[in-house]
């Protein structure tokens, strides 16, 4: 090692600091059984429709005691709508983050629900997990979990969409109840 590599110098950190956010804890959920799950759609992804259908199918199946309610508005989600969702359900999944802008929107919607005390889960494809997490952190809810689907989920064949959805929906409850969110 030469002496020059032991030298040091100072620079101004170009990253600056982040805004100080107030961490907010939502009510922890211990089980979905006997509860109502909201399925909130932002965006327009074909694969998300399959996932929601299979999730509803699972929640209506044997051994499950979970009501479910879909929210897919033809109008923007306003504060009143978020208030309504929180009144009608005990927890929610929000999806699908499958592009840059929609992931930010989904994470922001989840933060809106979490801010109202609702246990909530963001669903995103693998490539957008880091963006969803960064957005949740910025919106004060770093503890909201991001539940991931394969990166190529949107372009899979129908049979694979159904198969993967069936494999993954069984984990929704544990993801929603695994830690305070």
């Amino acid at each position: 090692m030469t002496s020059s590599t032991l030298e040091s110098y100072a620079i101004i950190d170009p990253r600056s600091s982040v805004a100080v956010v107030e961490q907010t804890q939502s009510v922890a959920l211990t089980t979905l059984q006997g509860k109502t799950l909201g399925i909130v759609t932002h965006g327009n992804w074909r694969s998300w429709e399959y996932f929601c259908d299979r999730l509803e199918n699972f929640l209506s199946g044997p051994g499950q005691d979970v009501q479910h309610q879909r929210y897919q508005d033809e109008r923007p989600y306003l504060d009143e709508r978020y208030d309504q969702i929180v009144r009608e359900v005990d927890a929610a999944v929000v999806g699908l983050g499958n592009c840059g802008s929609c992931t930010a929107q989904v994470a922001t919607a989840a933060a809106q629900l979490a801010a109202r005390g609702l246990p909530v889960l963001v669903v995103a494809t693998e490539g957008f997990k880091s963006l969803a997490e960064m957005t949740l952190e910025y919106r004060n809810y770093p503890n909201v979990q991001v539940f991931t689907l394969p990166a190529e989920y949107e372009v899979m064949e129908e049979r694979d969409l159904v198969r993967i959805a069936d494999e993954r929906v069984v984990d929704i409850e544990s993801a929603l109840t695994s830690k305070a969110i």
């Binding site: 020059s4 590599t5 032991l6 030298e7 040091s8 110098y9 100072a10 620079i11 101004i12 950190d13 170009p14 990253r15 600056s16 600091s17 982040v18 805004a19 956010v21 932002h42 965006g43 327009n44 508005d73 033809e74 109008r75 923007p76 989600y77 592009c99 840059g100 802008s101 929609c102 992931t103 930010a104 929107q105 490539g127 957008f128 880091s130 963006l131 960064m134 957005t135 952190e137 910025y138």
Partner: protein, 362 residues
């Protein structure tokens, strides 16, 4: 807030800082100048602003765009300290919610901020507005635009490939900054169109999702030039079409601007109206699944939700954007007047302009 220092091991050479910045995801892939205290201070000396003043909180990371951090990025980009007032104004404009910088930083399409510099500072800083204004060449154009991109990466957190997953990215994301040929815009330069005085130095943040060359050696009338531009705007796919409200920017060469103006298009709104009407595409030109969406679908709103309103069809014609006012018309480029540039925007972003004062004028 105290100065945020990073102490790095190495000899402080450009090579060692380049290596560090690559490992720390601090850059855009090109070599960077180390933002030493002395270099940052030289930037800060050109503005009368507190180094810890927060210009804006930038997403998706929620980074505080302090004057000092912006200066560090300007150094890294290779800016001369003289450029810093323009860089600061560009970040101030970009932080305007109308610009939707956070969306531009995370979108999967290649949208990027597009800076236009007007006023006396254009010449004082050597911002190119003539031949090759979009590159290559020209330190001011190359580094002022790059400084904003580095702010997006380092402060806003739009880390390429890590957080920002644009499917293909764009070479325009390295830098996109030009001057306007103010004196040759017969309708008044962009900053005047936007309510500023001609003698003010201004930066306007526009947006660019595409970069379409209009080459027309055969026309000689205003209508023929305008038709060539309108035809070059036409598309039957594109993320701007899925929303329908995108801004679009036309960069005219000075000769065409003269011809169009002298032909009676003295009101810029007439130019915009012409372009809007003649760039529409018949529904039958679209793929079947697009037709179904355009007829039965719902335009999205600014928060990404369906609007409940259909696309703005004009009979069987599909406008490239919802209204003529979404067009920005500027003048720049060399005097070989057979080219124009069209930049489609994305969706809801709108221009923002900020003025600035050069240090010699303070």
């Amino acid at each position: 807030m105290t100065t945020q220092l990073l102490r790095l091991t190495g000899d402080g050479s450009p090579e060692s800082f380049y290596e560090f910045s690559e490992q720390a995801n601090l850059g855009d892939g090109l070599p960077l100048i180390p933002p030493t205290i002395e270099r940052v201070d030289a930037m800060l000396a050109t503005v009368d602003r507190a180094r810890d003043e927060n210009i804006g909180t930038l997403g998706p990371r929620g980074g505080l765009a302090t004057v000092e951090a912006i200066a560090a990025n300007a150094v890294m980009a290779g800016c001369s300290s003289d450029y810093f007032p323009a860089v600061l104004a560009a970040v101030e404009a970009a932080a305007d919610p109308a610009v939707r910088l956070e969306d531009m930083g995370v979108n999967t399409n290649p949208i990027t901020p597009f800076l236009v510099i007007n006023g006396p500072a254009r010449d004082a800083l050597g911002v190119n507005y003539r031949a090759q204004c979009f590159g290559i060449g020209g330190r001011a154009n190359a580094t002022i635009g790059r400084a904003l991109r580095l702010v997006m990466i380092n402060i806003a957190g739009s880390l390429p490939s890590i957080v920002s997953k644009s499917t293909h990215g764009s070479p325009m994301r390295y830098t996109m900054c030009i001057g306007e040929w103010d004196e040759r815009n017969p309708w008044g330069p962009l900053h005047v169109q936007r309510g500023f005085d001609r003698d003010e130095n201004c930066v306007t943040v526009l947006s660019a999702n595409s970069f379409v060359e209009v080459g027309d050696p055969w026309s000689f009338s205003a209508e023929s030039f305008l038709m060539a531009i309108a035809n070059s705007m036409k598309a039957t796919s594109g993320s701007w079409l899925t929303v329908g409200t995108a801004p679009m920017t036309v960069v005219l060469n000075a000769n065409w601007a003269d011809i169009i103006y002298r032909a009676g298009y003295n009101d810029l709104s007439d130019v915009k109206q012409y372009l809007w009407e003649h760039s529409q595409v018949h529904l039958s030109e679209f793929a079947k699944e697009w037709q179904e969406k355009l007829i039965g679908g719902s335009r999205l709103t600014a928060d990404g939700s369906p609007s409940g309103e259909g696309y703005l069809l004009c009979g069987d014609m599909v406008p490239m954007t919802s209204k003529p006012e979404n067009f920005n018309i500027i003048v720049a480029g060399g005097e070989t007047g057979i080219h124009a540039i069209v930049c489609h925007g994305w969706a809801f972003e709108r221009p923002a302009t900020r003025s600035f004062i050069l240090p010699t004028h303070r």
